[in-house]
């Protein structure tokens, strides 16, 4: 799992993930999100590079969304592939974490 951060301005951070949100990848993603500075309350997770999402990945996204919400912030997702969308639908993640169509819509949704 490769992860990079990009400041989009106005306190919005885009976190781009590349790899699989399986057991190994989810551990890396969890550590990355947990290590974000508390100043980062509005986060966009770009999943364009994520080829697989298992329940451990859903767990990380829920945990991150809860943490950000507790700080008064928000997590928004963009670019999940079709298989990831099905996992999000089955678990209900898509009901509790917004999935925006693109980066601009995500910036609006997270603000």
């Amino acid at each position: 799992m490769e992860i990079s951060n990009k400041e989009l301005g106005h306190g919005v951070l885009k976190v781009s993930l590349k790899g699989s949100l399986d057991v190994a990848g989810a551990d890396v993603a969890d550590a990355h999100f947990a290590g974000l500075d508390a100043a980062h309350q509005r986060v966009i997770a770009d999943l364009a590079g994520v080829d697989f999402v298992a329940s451990v990945g859903i767990r990380v996204l829920v945990k991150t969304a809860k943490t950000l919400s507790g700080r008064g912030g928000k997590l928004v997702l963009i670019h999940p592939n079709d298989a990831a969308r099905r996992v999000m639908f089955t678990t209900g993640l898509d009901r509790i974490v917004p999935i925006a169509e693109d980066e601009q819509a995500a910036v609006t949704a997270v603000s």
Partner: protein, 138 residues
């Protein structure tokens, strides 16, 4: 294709080797492959994480067979007897406040597989999953 097998140790790091094996075998259509991968990741993670005492050694055997359009995967492990299908399925999450972190693996297994069955035979948990195509071939 015929059958393919792999033996995994009860170490979570083995899931990466399992996924490489799956990618090499790549049975069925892309959508069948995605469903098999999801189901196996959930089932094997659950077995390795909860099926053995701390430090206890064990193994998980996987076999994959395609005799027709459907693919059958059998997961055998020598962990403690556990029927994952006897467990109540969680409801999908409805709001962030009440959402539980985790517990969705079994739900995803049911969603991914066409059918699931469990037996405990000769000291082994035996979980059989069938994956039939959901889309007509193009």
């Amino acid at each position: 294709m015929g059958g393919a097998t792999i033996r995994l140790e009860n170490d979570l790091g083995e899931i990466e080797r399992m996924n490489r094996w799956l990618a090499h075998v790549h049975a069925g259509t892309d959508e069948q492959f995605e469903r098999i991968k999801l189901c196996l990741n959930e089932a094997v993670e659950n077995t390795i994480r909860y099926g053995y005492p701390v430090g206890g050694l064990g193994y998980v055997d996987l076999s994959l067979d395609q005799g027709g359009p459907c693919i059958t995967v059998v997961i055998r492990d020598d962990g403690k007897p556990y029927d994952p299908l006897a467990r109540a399925l969680p409801d999908p999450m409805r709001d962030l406040e009440s959402a539980t972190i985790g517990g969705f693996g079994i739900l995803l297994m049911h969603e991914a597989a066409t059918s699931l069955s469990y037996a405990y035979r000769a000291g082994m948990n035996v979980l059989t999953a069938e994956f039939c195509p959901r889309q007509a071939p193009k």
